[in-house]
Amino acid sequence: MTNPSPVTWGAEIQLNGLTKRFGSVVAVDNVTLQIEAGEFLTLLGPSGSGKTTTMRLIAGFDVPTAGDILMDRSSIIPVPTYQRNIGMVFQNYALFPHMTVFQNIAFPLEMRRVEKDKIVSEVARVLELVQLPGYEKRYPRQLSGGQQQRIALARALVFNPRVLLMDEPLGSLDRKLREHMELEIKHIQERLHITVVYVTHDQEEALVMSDRIAVINQGKIEQVGTPQELYERPKSRFVADFVGETNLLQGEVSELGAAYSTIGLKNGARIRVMPMEGLIIGQRVSLAIRPATIRILTLGEQLANSYTGVVDEVIYVGEITKYRIDLGGGESLMVKQAGRFDPQRCCRGTSVTIGWDLVDAKVVL
């Protein structure tokens, strides 16, 4: 049974003022979010931010304190979990240990009273999809973590749900496998045209897989946007810090101008930024500068912002080398440089000049 294409199979989900309270703790705080049909949306946030609680509300494991959840424009709150037709992959996979792989995957089909022959062919189909054909007779305990995860995914997909929920499924896999699975999951989602709501604290997963990311912190959504939007135009300190690496400097607005504005740091340095609306002289702001946008300048190079500093730390990560540059007065910046390790720029104590373009220092509030 192939999915009816070309129209998207996935359902549209709407969260309206969704709130969940546990006693005095507000885990999900008035969350309103629109998830498009067939979209891969990630709920990104640190532990305890409410992302898993939100997912559990969508799945129906908990009842919201207030607000509504709509699937294709109709509320699913009165619908019990087993009738919501939503596939779910758990963090610890939750494969039934007393059943074989075949029985695990056949389970949702048995619940829907599909005929025996159909079940066999469908199970084979999804096993092909996750690239584990022939694994029917194994038991979960005989599988590796990555294999278990793929079986869990197969089980959640076999009954052709229109929405797939994934709760940090890649957390316990090693890096290489994780990177491989990120792409595999993305490809499967694209093939099946289903809506995926993905929960993770790993911003790299979010950036790689998502069509859009909703950054959630302490129960509230801080920003929703495409990976590029979140990375390049973070709206708050939290988002800037959480999505991708960033340097955060504190300063005060000292000058406003047409071509640029100036922010003064505690150590006396003055940083030029793009003109921005709503800034007042003396206003305290934070500056977010991505380490990859800072360059170590050669003699004579000039950029809108250049400063001298001393190399405090060198971190070699193979393709990238990171430097911490001490600018004096308690301020320091992380700089990321790709390419071959340059002994000239290396070593602690070396004096260097770093710089970045006007547009690369962003004011966040």
């Binding site: 019990p80 979990t81 087993y82 939750a94 039934f96 007393h98 389970f107």
Partner: protein, 300 residues
Amino acid sequence: MTTRRIRIRLGGQGRRWEGSLTEYSPRQSYLLLSPVLIIFFIFLVIPLLRLLPLSTMDPTFTLKHYEHLIEEPLYRDVIARTFRVSLLVTGIAFLAGYPVAFVLSKTKGTLSNLMMALVLFPMLTNWLVQIYAWLVLLQTHGVVNELLLRLGLISKPLQLAPSEPAAILAMVVIQLPMMILPIYSVLRGIDPNLVLAAKSLGASDLRAFLRVTLPLSLPGVSTGVLLILILSLGYYITPATLGGPRVLMIGKLIEQQMTQLLNWPFASALGVILLVIAISLTALLQRLLLEKGSGELIVM
């Protein structure tokens, strides 16, 4: 003999302290168990083995006691009754105990402690005292009958005890904690995500229970069932007191033959039969209930 790993769980009380699951190889397991095994051997196995010569050498090798046992309808009845009562007690204890274990496994905090205390209550009082308490409650001029008479609900006292149902009731109540605790222990260890996963896949509460929770709780169920079944087979004071002379079970028969009739060879033959029944039942149940699961015997 198949090399079966014996996992010995240290501490299984739900999630309050995640007991460490230590797995020992068969060799280490037997080494660890050797003090107990030695004591068992000296004080249990050898005396039991002595039953064989006792029952067959009278004075030379003869099977007449066993023949006597099989031929007399009285004795066949006793064995059948012992079986029947034991199975009934086990069955009722399971039906009564599983829901309690289930509910208990889902509660937390004060309520959980309170319920647990209630479950363990029967274990606090000496069982002999409990038997007589039941007698006081159920006998012809006992509490229940007097109450019903005074309330005018009956005109003549009911024959509640001694009777077989009374014996069964007491046996169930006394052994109920031993059914509840192993099941509770296993239920607590089941990953709650499994039931949630089943629901997300389309299983209603009932179907999720039948297809996921119940099968996974079988190790606890089999421990409870095994314990109670084997123990019930040997019960004789409780059925004798609360059941009266008409509810004769094999334990009482052995006692009679030994102490009153001084017919040790016959009593030994009965003992051997009891032992054989107990061992075969254990083996059968282990086959049925443990093979399906992960092959572990959960010790609380």
